[in-house]
C-alpha cells in the first residue's frame, strides 16, 4: 500500500516537473532550483527525477532546439515511401541512421489517398542538397520501394511543442 502511495507521489512530482519545464528551462544561474521552487520540492529531488526521466526516455534530451529556417536549412522535406511490408523494418533502421535524416517512422497507409508506409524527414540548405539525401534513401530502399514522394514545407503555421494541461 505504501509503495502505491509513494509511486503515485513520484508520478505527481514528475508531472509537475514536466509542466514546469514544458515552456523551457528557466534562464537563470540555478534553473533546477527555480523549477524546484515552482514545484515545491527540494532541488536535489528535481535533478534526480530529471536524471531518471532521461534514463527511461521520458526526456529525450535537454538542450537547444534550433529553428531550421533561421540556421539556413530552408529545404525541409518529408520524404514518403511505399516499401514492401516485409522489408520496411530492416530498411527503415538503415534509413534512420543516415546523416541528414532527422526523423524516420513507419506509419499506416491510408488507401486510396495515401500509399506510403515509411516517412523520413530530410533537411538541406537548398532543395538540391535535400535531393542528395533523398537519392541516398532511394539507393538503400532500392527495389523494395514501389513509389515515393517528397512534401516540402512551405510555411511553419505553428510550432509550440508539447503542452500538458494543468490537470
Amino acid at each position: 500500500m505504501n509503495d502505491i502511495v509513494a509511486s503515485d507521489l513520484v508520478t505527481e512530482i514528475d508531472r509537475a516537473i514536466v509542466r514546469a519545464t514544458q515552456a523551457g528551462l528557466p534562464r537563470v544561474t540555478r534553473p533546477y532550483h527555480a523549477i524546484a521552487d515552482a514545484v515545491g520540492v527540494a532541488p536535489e529531488l528535481v535533478m534526480s527525477r530529471i536524471r531518471v526521466m532521461l534514463g527511461d526516455g521520458r526526456i529525450r534530451r535537454i538542450g537547444a532546439v534550433p529553428n531550421h529556417y533561421a540556421l539556413g536549412w530552408r529545404a525541409n522535406g518529408m520524404s514518403v515511401w511505399d516499401v514492401l511490408d516485409e522489408r520496411v523494418d530492416e530498411l527503415g533502421a538503415k534509413v534512420g541512421r543516415l546523416a541528414g535524416v532527422s526523423h524516420c517512422y513507419r506509419r499506416p497507409r491510408r488507401l486510396p489517398q495515401w500509399r506510403y508506409n515509411l516517412l523520413a524527414m530530410v533537411h538541406g540548405r537548398t532543395r538540391a542538397e535535400a535531393e542528395v539525401r533523398i537519392a541516398e534513401i532511394a539507393a538503400i530502399l532500392d527495389d523494395a520501394a514501389r513509389a515515393h514522394d517528397v512534401l516540402y514545407s512551405t510555411r511553419i503555421l505553428k510550432k509550440t511543442g508539447l503542452r500538458l494541461g494543468s490537470a
Partner: protein, 149 residues
Amino acid sequence: MDDLDRRIVNTLQDDFPVCERPFRAAAAALGTTEDELIARVDRLLAEGTLTRFGPLFQIERMGGAFVLAAMQVPEGRFDEVAITVNALPEVAHNYAREHALNMWFVLATETPLGVAAAVRKIEDATGLPVLAFPKEREYFVELRLEAGA
C-alpha cells in the same frame, strides 16, 4: 550570429548538464562565462534562432500520444482553416506542405483517446476530413542541425 552563437547552437543541442549551475558548466566548456551564455541563449530564443531551450519530452512514454495528421484544404480556405486548427492546444506543430494533402500537423494529447477527440473537433470545426497517421515504429530520431560557418 557570431562564432560563439554557432558553437552554442551546435554544442547545446543535447547533454545540457543537470547540476546546480548548469550554465556555468556549459559555459566553461564553450570558453565563455555563465552570464554571457544565459544572455546569448535568451537572445537566440528572442530572435527565433532557437525555438526552445530545455527538456524534450517523449509524450508516449508518459502515457500520452503524439500523432501526425493531414488535411486536404481548399486553397481559398487555407488561412481560415489554419487559424481554426492552430487554435487547438492539442496542435503542437502545423506545416503547409506542397501536396494535395497540404496541411500537416502533429496532435499531442495526454491520453491516446485525446487524439480521436481532437480529430473530431477539427473535422467538426472545419467540415474537412482529417487523416491520422499514428506512429507504428520509430527507427531513429536525432535532430541535430549544424549552424554553418
